[in-house]
């Protein structure tokens, strides 16, 4: 497979995890692409405007990328922190609409700020990696870290509190869980992850403009989670990987590809209403995996 496509798939998986985090405590936030765009602009502006970040010659220094990621995550997180208080008072579809509005506001701001290059955006973002494979390895490590954090969440009281809020917010409050605080943590973590992902993506795509954070992108990232499954973290990861790859893999069929892509998105929830990954299917997979080496190891008694 082409390393460039693989990199896009990994970025898709990271964005899907960013949508998953608030959903894990029942908050349908579509703000991920907004924070992703902001993170990308932070990296693009720093690495094209600040000599220390731009580096010399063909490649920009890797430590600069790490600093950009920290700053991009911090800015996205701060925006989420500032608006999270009022926005998270909304529930369900109202929260979704408010976060769509947020994405639009960020898009218009990004489009009109004097230093973001208007509709053309920012070009010639220097590359920390000479080859796409470098990006793939780096993003894979980032995705692994994000997955590991999501997995650890299951063992933490924060993870349990989030699940409790998802199941019944009122009952969670009545057992002493600070529900606004917990929801805010999930929202900020989601923004942080999207911002960090944007910083990597800006370098990878070489240019960055306001289209990175659009309403379309909100829907696409939501489709990752709906398709893959929103209950367990492998769901969004799988959804992000598959649905990012699909339009590219369907390229040979020409104009039909968008129709087929739409059909897959439509049929996915019809046949897998809970998404591809559910606790039951994961468990079945685990029992299968546990059976395999035994069969290979000890010979069966006659």
């Amino acid at each position: 497979m082409d390393a460039g496509l693989l990199e896009q798939m990994l970025l898709g998986a990271l964005l899907a995890l960013s949508v998953y985090l608030p959903l894990r405590c029942g908050q349908l936030s579509l703000a991920t692409p907004g924070f992703y765009a902001v993170g990308g602009y932070v990296a693009a502006l720093l690495s094209t405007g600040v000599p220390a970040f731009a580096g010399t010659g063909a490649t920009s220094p890797l430590p600069a990328l790490l600093v950009e990621m920290v700053l991009a995550g911090a800015l996205a997180g701060l925006i989420a922190l500032a608006i999270g208080g009022p926005v998270l008072r909304l529930r369900g579809i109202y929260l979704a609409i408010a976060t769509i509005a947020l994405v639009e506001i960020l898009r218009v701001i990004n489009l009109n700020l004097p230093f973001t290059g208007g509709a053309m955006g920012i070009f010639g973002i220097p590359q920390p990696f000479a080859q796409p494979e470098g990006y793939v390895a780096f993003t894979l490590a980032l995705l692994a870290l994000a997955c590991w954090l999501c997995q650890r969440l299951e063992a933490l009281r924060l993870g349990r509190a989030m699940a409790a809020i998802r199941d019944d917010e009122l009952a969670a409050a009545c057992v002493g869980i600070d529900t606004p605080h917990t929801k805010l943590i999930a929202f900020v973590a989601s923004a942080l992850l999207a911002g960090v992902t944007g910083a990597v993506a800006a370098h990878f795509f070489n240019s960055w403009n306001a289209r990175a954070g659009s309403f379309d992108a909100s829907i696409t990232t939501l489709a990752f989670v709906v398709f893959g499954g929103s209950r367990l973290w492998p769901g969004p990861v799988l959804g992000g990987l598959l649905l990012t790859a699909l339009p590219e893999l369907l390229r040979p069929v020409g104009d039909l590809r968008l129709i087929l892509f739409g059909a897959v998105i439509l049929l996915g929830p019809l046949f897998f209403p809970q998404g591809l990954v559910t606790a039951e299917r994961l468990q079945r997979l685990q029992t299968l995996a546990a059976l395999l080496p035994r069969r290979r190891g000890a010979p069966l008694a006659p």
């Binding site: 954090l149 650890r152 063992a155 933490l156 009281r157 349990r160 509190a161 699940a163 409790a164 998802r166 199941d167 019944d168 009122l170 009952a171 969670a172 409050a173 009545c174 057992v175 002493g176 869980i177 600070d178 529900t179 209950r231």
Partner: protein, 254 residues
Amino acid sequence: MSLLQVEGVSCRFGGLQALAGVSLEVREGEIFGLIGPNGAGKTTLFNVISGLTRPSGGRCLWRGRPMQGMGPAAINRLGIARTFQNLRLFESLTALENVLVGLHHAAGAPLPGALLGSGSFRRRQGRLKEQALELLERLELAPLADQRAGELAYGDRRRLEIARALATAPQLLLLDEPAAGMNPAEKEELRLLIGRIRDHFALSVLIIEHHVPLMMQLCGRLAVLNFGERIALGSPAEVRRDPRVIEAYLGGQP
């Protein structure tokens, strides 16, 4: 000494006066009953006490301190836990996890150790799990620890909600119709269970229940609500003789 004082609490929803100047007081260690016909305002009073509904008049005091403006989480931290008339469990979590959520504030651990699964974090988690299992054991739910709450039988769900409430270490337990839908034998078991819980955890209980004979046996004192007003208060014997109570339950003279 009085644990909870309800002072002239009123609650109005549009044209409906759900509570009209209700006062009562729950003392330390007692089982206090709240009875009254459907729609009398019993659950509304629970919602006011647990911070889910803001009263339009009056106030509640916890150990003499006003609880005004406190949300449900803060009120739970004071030491008031509740169950719900129409069961509100965390359905996708197991019975054990439901109780662990109740232990939220006992479960705090330093983040680095928690993330890396350090020895001290795992030992702490082990202790928490033991504590949760002990609570399940006490409510005869231990064999069901790993079942999802949503898949439990009705009576088990009722008891699981009590276990979850107890996990928050309350000094006052609010039970909203815990015997609803139970047969006479189960009701009798529940009565004994509530008594045992009160003794073992040294807490007070404020209980709403329709089954009057059960309440007469269980409660030290009773308040009777009708159309949002407290029409009687006293020992079961006093309440039983009260003419206004008889009128509310059996209808007045024509």
